[in-house]
């Protein structure tokens, strides 16, 4: 590989690949999640997704942290320290997750997953949400 080819690959193709894969990720990853009681293949999901599902976070907060029975967690999750404090000692009806049930490392990975959830579309961009 010539230097120019290498530079082209490093500075153009690779970033482009990353960008495209990030853009494509939600659809790709979510395609695998609809079978939500099935086995989780880590290769299909971002970091922390396994911990998020296996510890039952999805039950109240949805697979994408969108909330329903519980509050929305993503996008833009709480800073890790606040998030961790609420997981360990919730202020409302959420059950407490002690270190015996959820390690710091697992909690960090869950937070990582929440951080990776892409921003929701602008409501004005969705005609179905323009209800008179």
């Amino acid at each position: 590989m010539s230097v120019n080819t290498h530079l082209f690959a490093r500075h153009i193709l690779y970033p482009l690949f990353i960008l495209l894969s990030q853009l494509a990720w939600p659809a790709y990853a979510q395609e695998k999640t609809f079978d939500f009681h099935g086995e989780i293949n880590d290769a299909d999901h971002p970091t922390g997704y396994r911990e998020y599902v296996e510890n039952g976070c999805w039950q109240c907060h949805g697979f994408q942290g969108q909330g329903m029975a519980g509050p929305a967690l993503a996008p833009n999750p709480l800073p890790y320290e606040a998030f961790a404090a609420l997981v360990r000692k919730p202020v409302n009806v959420m059950p407490a997750y002690s270190p015996a049930l959820l390690s710091d490392e697992q909690m960090r990975r869950i937070h990582q997953y929440l951080q990776s959830i892409p921003k929701a579309p602008d409501p004005d961009s969705l005609p179905l949400l323009s209800v008179e």
Partner: protein, 644 residues
């Protein structure tokens, strides 16, 4: 020993005597009654055969004794049907049973199967829950016919829901009181000394009539009790012999039914309530089952606007969701200085909060100095065993009476007592709530975007795709409303029907069919967002909808679980610091294999699509299904959804 036939004759003779004192013969009275009955409640003209039988003509080839042995000229159940017609009961939902075979035949043949029409149900629980949903749209009870024993046991859960939800229902329970005439076998196991005992803890009234005059009086009384607030189910035992024995046309006159006026709150107390509300800085209205009718909905708007007070609560369709005074949240209660509760299911839980932790602690949400006013009819009829009356909440002014009936006077009194100096404050309050309403709706729109493209489908996405399909119809949500429908403009009294009342699963599917039946005559488009676990209790009602051509669109909220129980188990496991998601699923999820609701519906003869997992596939599927509903038939779209 007097046999059954002689006993009936004796009763008929007694009736003859009673009626004769009014100056008319029994037959003249009966004819006069038939003539005077409202057109819609009258039976069809008899067939030639029936006319001959009524006249006492003996069929060719039979002696009088043989005819007496083989044939019945005018069975008691015909009269029972006349009484039902006189009450304007349009439907009897039922799974057929021999203990009321006489009544079923009279409905079908003597009554022409119209008003009431016999609705074929595949489970008594379906019949009762259909009646529950129907009443919430039709504002009048449906009848159900059940075996007094095995049928009533099936129906009990749905009757309990209706009781908790303050919904009227007429239960006709077949039984055989006279042991001397019971056939061996089933007729014994289908008889009971007191079959209504099973449900007496959660109905308003019942009786076991021993004669047709007794039946007539008790059925009219039962209807009156059922439809007078607080409403609820009532039961009449229809004895097998009473149904099947010949009256020889000697039946009592059926007096026209006159409904009771609903109980009204005490005038003095309403004046005091108006004073407190008119002078309040931050009045708040918490509505439970406040609006029973379209007029009730109008009164709720008038009340809120007279006070410029926010209205919270959706136990029923109490208030237009697109009105700026439609508000929610604990903050309303926290800042209120006067709170008006209207037919609240659980006022305590709105004034206080309790946390589901190891030690269940509660705290007061409302201000200590808040003035609490309650208007409701629940205290007028309360039974002790089942605890659906919820926790006791002391109030400052407790007004016993139907809230809807009390509203017109309260509104006028508030207007009369409103100090002129308050008018500027009313405008300020209106401005404040207009602003918070707009803010709240914008927050709803943002919440709806979260997970918009998710697979499985988010509830907001499902809800808004569905609304886009039905918005140009005269629609009615015949299922429980969730926050995912917060963006739907719900303005009419039939725009949603509230929940089950008793939280007994298995209500939603049959209730949707009953409500859709009531909507059918108005040409409304009925739609239900149907939970999967609820669907599975008695899915045969899907066939009932197809058989009776009841247009209704079911959109499955299929999260493949009793998901609430998944969350409960996770809570237990977390509290005990053991177990995770996999343990929480044990006993609670529908997997290995998944259940295919589209195929289930197809098997019942209903158009169906799904399971749909890609939200982009929703709109075309919903439109195809809606076209089926527009043609007058039910349809189902199975959608795999996000969990909660």
């Amino acid at each position: 020993m007097t046999n059954r036939r002689d006993f009936i004759k004796g009763v008929a003779g007694t009736v003859t005597g009673v009626v004769a004192t009014a100056g008319l013969s029994v037959q003249q009275e009966a004819v006069a009654q038939q003539t005077a009955a409202p057109e819609k409640a009258s039976a069809l003209p008899p067939t030639h055969y029936e006319a001959n039988m009524e006249k006492g003509v003996i069929p060719d080839g039979y002696t009088e004794e043989q005819a007496h042995h083989y044939f019945v000229q005018s069975p008691g159940s015909d009269f029972m049907v006349d009484v039902v017609k006189g009450l304007g009961i349009d439907y009897i939902a039922s799974n057929p049973g021999s203990s009321f075979r006489g009544l079923q035949e009279s409905i079908s043949v003597y009554g022409g199967n119209k008003k009431p029409e016999f609705l074929t149900c595949l489970h008594e629980e379906s019949a009762a829950a259909m009646a529950h949903g129907y009443a919430k749209i039709a504002y009048k009870p449906m009848g159900i016919a059940v075996h007094g024993t095995v049928g009533l046991q099936h129906a009990a859960m749905a009757i309990y829901n209706a009781y908790c939800d303050r919904v009227p229902m007429m239960i006709f329970a077949g039984n055989h009181m006279d042991a001397n005439d019971r056939r061996p076998g089933a007729e014994w196991s289908h008889s009971a000394l007191d079959c209504i005992k099973l449900v007496r803890d959660f109905i308003k009234w019942d009786d076991i009539p021993l004669s047709l005059p007794h039946y007539m009086e008790s059925t009219q009384r039962a209807y009156k009790v059922a439809t007078t607030p607080p409403m609820g189910p009532v039961a009449i035992v229809v004895d097998g012999h009473l149904q099947e024995e010949d009256t020889h046309g000697k039946v009592p006159a059926i007096p026209p039914y006159v409904p009771s006026t609903p109980p009204h709150g005490d005038m003095g107390a309403l004046i005091e309530a108006a004073k407190l509300l008119a002078n309040a800085e931050n009045p708040v209205i918490l509505a439970g089952r406040a609006a029973r009718t379209p007029v009730g909905l109008e009164h709720m708007v008038a009340l809120a606007e007279a006070l410029q007070a926010p209205v919270s609560g959706d136990g029923r369709m109490n208030f237009p969701s697109n009105h700026y005074l439609s508000q929610g949240g604990r903050a309303l209660v926290r800042q209120a200085d006067v709170i008006l509760g209207l037919e609240n299911r659980d006022l305590w839980a709105q004034i206080n909060s309790m946390r589901d932790l190891v030690h269940r602690t509660s705290s007061r949400v409302a201000r200590d100095d808040v003035k609490l006013i309650s208007i409701g009819s629940d205290d007028l009829y309360m039974l002790s065993n089942y605890q659906n009356f919820q926790r006791f909440q002391p109030v400052d002014l407790d007004i016993n009476g139907d809230a809807e009936a009390s509203l017109p006077f309260l509104i006028e009194e508030i207007k009369r007592q409103m100090p002129k100096a308050r008018f500027a404050k009313l405008k300020d309050r209106a401005d404040k709530y207009r602003e918070s309403y707009q803010k709240g709706m914008e927050e709803e729109r943002i919440a709806a975007t979260l997970g918009w493209n998710d697979k499985p489908v988010s509830l907001y996405r499902l809800s808004m795709e569905l609304y886009d399909v039905i918005k140009d119809h005269d629609w009615s949500l015949v299922s429980q409303k969730s926050s995912a429908q917060n963006l739907w403009p719900m303005t009419r009294h039939y725009h949603h029907i509230g929940g089950s009342g008793g939280a007994g699963i298995g209500y939603e599917l049959p209730a949707s069919v009953g409500a859709a039946l009531a909507n059918r005559e108005h040409g409304r488009f009925s739609v239900a967002i149907q939970p999967d676990g609820d669907f599975l209790f008695a899915p045969g009602v899907v066939w009932t909808a197809a058989h009776h051509q009841i247009p209704l669109l079911w959109v499955m909220h299929n999260n493949r679980a009793y998901h609430q129980e998944v969350m409960h188990l996770q809570r237990m496991a977390s509290r005990r610091q053991r177990g995770n998601n996999n343990q929480a699923k044990i006993g609670n999820v529908f997997e290995d294999p998944f259940i295919n609701f589209a195929k289930l519906a197809e098997g019942f003869g209903v158009y169906s699509e799904g399971p749909i997992t890609n939200p982009d596939d929703l709109a075309p599927a919903l439109r195809r299904a809606a076209a089926i509903v527009d043609s007058g038939m039910p349809a189902l779209v199975d959608v795999v959804c996000q969990p909660a």
